[in-house]
Symmetry: C2
Subunit: 592 residues, 2 copies
């Protein structure tokens, strides 16, 4: 059996041992052992850092012997005297001291781990996920998890100080699929019926506003049964908030204060407010994206007018079609983009749906892909329109405007990454406002809601809800950070009749409405203050703040792309009895 810690009580965390002459008791994991014959050094680690333990010829013999048997990852508790170290390490807070050990307890012996617990690791992620509890011992993950805790802590402090109440909403709720698939939970007591895990607490937070709770916040677990992309998790956490007696700007102002606070407190980074605002239309026109990364230029410019007289069929036909010709100027891009590299860009553009890209590559002199169609002065006119100089690369797309924008938006990002012009330590927040209310569903040839069905249209659009859906804008907005959508928000419809009208515009039948949202629709009959809110992705925020590469690096026990947890082999089969009790049976052919 291992030693007990009886009689010892920890006085310090490892990373806090600095005071020479003090008697301390510390506990932790063995980071490494250096046995130099007459002297043994053990580096002991806990979540605060490391401290060096010293055993030498003056150490009690039994202790020395025990020390010599210690191996990496053993758990120790030691008592000892803090002494000045001979060879100091200025990089460590505890680098000037070591502990001369007078009592050593080996509380737990470790078998050799399947991989070394080091900050940097080349071990493949699958193995690390299988032994997640060991992976979580690594310093970068500990730092991330601690930082995520700090972010959540500051989040709560900020919103609580601003009058928000944290109210827990149910995890087992009614299935009202929208957007994504619900995870379902069969009911034992009500055979044939199911609960659903919340995709968000949307309905409940609106009910809380109807109930007069005025300002609500919750760090809420949300669930979506989607086919996972690299940066999704089936369960994730949302900083979910809702406010009454406010309009869009009030909510945005409140969230700006939060962003400022959390970046300052957790990272020491100043975020100036108010944050810049761009309408959805402007974002699309300038960046070809509803979540533009504004840390670099290469903005999209409309050169339709400039090129309208050039006798180049690609431009001509696009313009005649009512489409447009637009360009980005990849500043200093000429060197990096050889002919071959440009071909790759063109392939990429074709992959997005564009017919191709025209270009002007200005290394020594402007080299234009459509030179033979140019009249005197045309080249200069185009270069002048997009402010191109020697060293630049101008990429031009002529097509349906929607295609042009999405193509150049994507190409813009690729070029910026290749030229490495995106400053890493810059945090460009941006509000995208006046989001479109409807999206066109090409498959079904119909307009569908771009947001949940309680989203308020902008007042001035109420008159053409039916007649011109493409131009109806919503009182909805996104918060974007460095090209990532962090958060969505909107004002909600509180008017019972307008809500009915919206449901109709979305083609929902009375039965559908009643079955899905009946109780919520009814709730609005009893009056509600104007209200709106947002949901801010905590995982994504933490990922960006931790400079992590994936959500898995800021989630203690993440799932992988196929929604399984490798460590516990979850999901797993359950015995037939359990299913019988639930009144369900498996019909699908099982995996294995």
């Amino acid at each position: 059996m291992a030693d007990s810690m009886k009689g010892l009580k920890r006085t310090h965390y490892c990373g806090d041992v600095t005071e020479i002459g003090k008697e301390v008791v510390v506990g932790g994991f063995v980071e490494r052992v250096r046995d130099k014959g007459g002297v043994i050094f053990i580096v002991l680690r806990d979540r605060t850092g490391v401290v060096q333990l010293l055993f030498n010829e003056t150490t009690d013999k039994a202790i020395f012997e025990k020390a010599s048997s210690c191996r990496s990852e053993d758990v120790l508790m030691v008592k000892g005297e803090v002494r000045e170290r001979e060879s100091k390490n200025d990089k460590l807070k505890t680098g000037h001291v070591e502990i001369f050990v007078t009592d050593l307890r080996v509380l737990s012996k470790a078998e050799t781990p399947p991989f070394e617990i080091t900050a940097e690791t080349k071990v493949n992620e699958e193995l690390r996920l299988k032994y997640r509890y060991l992976d979580l011992r690594r310093e970068p993950l500990q730092r991330n998890i601690i930082m995520r805790h700090e972010i959540a802590k500051v989040t709560r402090e900020y919103f609580y100080e601003n009058g928000f109440l944290e109210i827990e909403t149910p995890m087992m709720m009614k299935s009202t699929p929208e957007g994504a698939r619900d995870y379902l939970i069969p009911s034992r007591v009500h055979p044939g019926k199911f609960y659903a895990l919340p995709q968000s607490p949307q309905i409940y937070k609106q009910l809380l506003m109807i109930a007069g709770y005025d300002r609500y916040i919750q760090l809420a677990r949300c669930f979506r049964d989607e086919d996972l992309r690299a940066d999704r998790q089936p369960e994730f956490t949302q900083i979910d908030l809702e406010m009454s007696f406010v309009d869009a700007e009030d909510i945005q102002e409140c969230v700006e204060g939060f962003i400022q606070r959390v970046f300052k407190e957790v990272m020491g980074v100043d975020v100036p407010t108010p944050l810049p605002r761009l309408t959805f239309a402007d974002a699309m026109n300038r960046y070809g994206s509803d979540k533009p990364d504004t840390r670099f230029g290469f903005e999209i410019q409309d050169i339709t007018d400039t090129v309208k007289d050039i006798d180049f069929v690609v431009f001509k036909s696009a313009i005649e079609d009512g489409s447009s010709v637009r360009a980005i100027n990849v500043k200093n891009g000429a060197a990096a983009y050889t002919r071959k590299e440009i071909d790759k860009l063109v392939d990429h553009a074709k992959g997005i749906g564009a017919k191709g890209l025209a270009y002007i590559r200005w290394a020594d002199e402007p080299n234009c892909s459509f030179k033979k169609f140019l009249a005197d002065g045309d080249l200069e006119k185009i270069c002048s329109a997009v402010d191109a100089q020697q060293g630049d690369l101008v990429l031009i797309c002529a097509d349906k405007t929607k295609t042009v924008l999405s193509t150049l938006g994507a190409i813009r990002l690729i070029c910026a990454k290749k030229l490495d012009v995106i400053p890493e330590d810059q945090y460009n927040f941006l509000w995208i406002t006046e989001m479109p209310f409807f999206e066109y569903d090409e498959d079904n040839n119909t307009w569908v809601a771009a947001h949940h069905p309680f989203t308020m249209p902008m007042e001035e659009c109420l008159d053409y809800l039916d007649s011109d859906p493409a131009n109806v804008r919503a009182k909805a907005w996104d918060l974007v950070l460095n090209g990532t959508e962090l958060s969505s928000g909107s004002m909600r419809i509180t008017d019972f009749e307008l809500q009915q009208k919206m449901f109709e515009a979305l083609g929902m039948t009375d039965e559908e409405i009643q079955a899905k949202f009946g109780f919520l629709v009814d709730a609005y009959r009893y009056a509600a203050p104007p209200h709106g809110g947002m949901g801010i992705g905590l995982d994504r925020l933490a990922m960006i703040m931790c400079k992590a590469d994936s959500l898995r690096d800021v989630t203690a026990f993440p799932k992988v792309q196929n929604a399984s947890e490798i460590m516990s082999e979850c999901p797993s089969t359950v015995d037939k009895d359990s299913l019988d009790i639930l009144g369900i049976a498996v019909t699908a052919k099982e995996e294995e």
Copy 2:
């Protein structure tokens, strides 16, 4: 359409309007309207309280008219001047003022609610739950929900200050049923496999200790698919914590600090620490309960020795049987307990499994149910043994000791309630320590774990794990408040071999162990610090602190006894397509 709040911005909450002469903007729900012809008073309510609005002959005529159309629960926003009120209400913080309204917006009109929104209500709970969003407007519920928020806030503050990290653990985990039934979630990606909702984050928090996170806290949602008793919810929240490099006392000390802090900060109540401690054995012997309410006496006393010579067959045979005779002295109980009332107690005792109750009712003079068996002086001896005086009622039970204790424990509570001797504003916390390690499963004639299988036995009991299971005590403890179990805690086994031995003692096969806990058992191979923790029921704590009658009164959107949510009619049926995608089918006959 309703008015808009354009141009107005709330300056004050209703309950904060006190400064005479100030121009304020408030918003809220109409509590009531008093129309006195030339003068209209509207009481406006938000979550902070109420304030009176005044409309009189000097009010703008259009505003006055609009005011006269206002009805209960309409949502208003008003601008106005704070004036001194003529007839003051000293009970209200805002009772000295009223707002002379200069701008009135009716933001939302309310239909007549299905019940009146009043603090006191006699409306049946089912109707209130159907319209939960209206029920939640009532002041007592708002107070509870706000207090629950405060409790959670102080909880986090306390534990964060003490070095705890809040780490989110998965909600979709592997099914490892123990104690209660799991709620299951079919996996779409892995047909035939299931996730489970956590009954607690037990496994994950132990893994976090193995991973070196040292101190973990989480306000964690937990789920149990049990047949609900009045005071259970299928989902509930646990203040879940785990600490490394500690022993039981360290954890208890930490939690005592928390209790002291939360009662002081939220209620202004001083809880002296250290909290009293009772071993499980002592609690059973003195109170006949492992969660004794110590706010009153009536303690159980062993009078076996005192009555051993009395020639009363009930006592005699019990004593010969190795059983015992025990009594409680219901102080001043004689008056309340007539013969008929005592008969009811006896019936109750029989319901618990006792053969009956003997008694001495000492109104004017001692009236003993077994008088005819008494020799001279016997009565005095018994009365003296239990300190009975005139006015008291002594209840005696002779039976198997286990039955005697549970019977008198239950009767003790009934009598205290009837005599109304339980002080309402007293908070008697109590640690129950040295819990039994095994429980005897009468149905299967076998010893089963009383706690989860990672619970540490007390060191001194290791030697007779197999030979004397009845006497093995666990390093496990409960926190009891006024007769309610608030929390359970234990130290965990960190020794791989001891853990194997425990599994064997519990009759688990290697396959079972591997299937259920394989990864956790393996994790301990790589060393773990000594650790233990607790789970404190937040809902129950909030219920007691709010002096609420049920968990439903401290839960925003509770479920009822059959695990359904009345408001949303959840759980509900889902379409067959959804089930097909999940690869399951309903086999049970549906309810309706």
